[in-house]
Amino acid sequence: MSFAVEETVPGRRGIGRALLADPMGLAGLVLVVVFLLMALLAPWIAPYDPIALDVKAKFQPPSAAHWAGTDHLGRDLLSRIIWGARLALGIAITSVGIAGAIGLVLGLIAGYGPRWLDSILVLIFDSMSSLPMIFFALAVITVLGPGTTTLIIVIVLVSFPAYARLIRTQTLALSGADFILAERAMGAGAGRIIFCHLLPNVVGPLVILICMDIPVVIMLEAGLSYLNLGVKPPSPSWGNILSEGYNALRQAPHVVVVAGVPLVLATLGFTFLGEGLRDVLDPRGAGRRWG
């Protein structure tokens, strides 16, 4: 014997409230807001110029003047970290935005277009996602040469196949739905069906997937910059700060210790927020803390 327990999807106000009631989601939200503010307000809140050299003051441990200390060129680490947030979030949001748009278009084409085109696109998506991410990224960097633009292209290339696959699956599922068939029977054109019916229904899951991808992208940017294959110095990427700190590990361990903190907190924040959002938005998963 089974009893259907009533399930309700929380409304827009309910999402916020449910998220605030969940300690992990709340912690994630706070961290994400802090990093967003750091990114937006960097020019005003950073105490120093992030690339101004002051070689006399190099390798200073944290102090009242330099809360996070200074690096091998005497640059203020706190300022570099704050500007680093702007760089990390800027690159992450730009690249997943572009990847999302490409994934959306190709996914709709694969899902709604002719069968042969679908097969070709799926083979391409599968091939691209069957490459271990890092090797694919490194191959692209070799060809294009390291730099911020390359980094964005790399992130777009490694992320869009997953988005396209998701959109394709959703589109295929929806295309068979009664209301779409009814529209078709009434003679609606492909354009009308795609823009009025498919698009609004497939965007939601895509946005959730993209949000959950942001920490991965931040990690990839920092990692490649750490290998000196991403953002070029002297730009204050968190990866660059880490790499410079690593080189001075024994002289001034505070640099590398401090540089790891924003990276850990940012990835934690975005992941916690993503988990919290998913729990709230997916009522079947609700209550199963980490199902």
Binding site: S127, L131, I134, V143, G260
Partner: protein, 316 residues
Amino acid sequence: MLAYAIRRMGLSLLILIVVMVAMYGMVFLVPGDPASLALGPRATPELKEALRERMGLDQPILTQIAYFFGNVLRGDLGVDVWSKRPVLEQILEVFPNTLILGVVALGWALVMGIVLGCAAVVWRDTWADRLLGVLSVSVISVPSFVVAIYALIVFAVWLNWLPAIGAGEAGDFWSQVRALILPAFAVGIGWVGYLARLIRASMLEVMEAPHIRTARAFGMRERDIVFRHALRVAIVPTISILAVGFGSILSSAVFVESVFSRPGIGTLITGAVEKRNYPVVMGTVLFMTGFYLLVVTAADLLIARLDPRVRDVLRG
């Protein structure tokens, strides 16, 4: 079963060919001459020409591709532009290091992940379960190279318990083991969380199944039900994710090898990317893609062996 294996391998081969064409095509899609890019702006025209010839760039593109495929089939991945050593030789020299790192990392992550995932199921909905949940999400999201750097500072620099760099002395087993501990910890830690989570979710689903109720109705101990009956069912979907995840283990290994200056595929390819050493980069990417596809295919075949239902569907 055999037909399935052949079909599955055929698909992998097709993907590998697409990847090869894409890799090779990419070089020509980009504006600019790979030879001059590799040598930098100050290279003389003679030097560039010599390099172009060495890379085979003076041939028509179709000839190059045909040549490339032919060579790959013969196991020749090209020759290093700088050291003139065969690429395959360099890869095979360092690959065991990376493989050991990946396998050991995945191994300890799997053991810990299963234990913690099952523990969370046994203690479900208690504070211990919730704590394990938060810890899992946390270790999943922290980048492995940051873990590597912190581990290096604490255990190699401050405490001086373990070596900071290298892969240990050749022939000295214990020094190799000691050099492996920190990298394997850094690469595997995220997977402990991921697997614990995966096993827990998979187990909870299995624990709802009627056959678990049967086991309970016969008075089996909850511990025996979890480890002897539910785990066998829950592990099957985990294997395919594990195989796909081996790709991300390799990605972590690239960064972590760099942190510990550990000779391996990661240090080989990052060095080559910096010098724009095309043959080494392309060869390594191709090799690792092939290896990865092999692992994924093998996992699919293993699942077919472990789950008698799948096995029979394939046989029938």
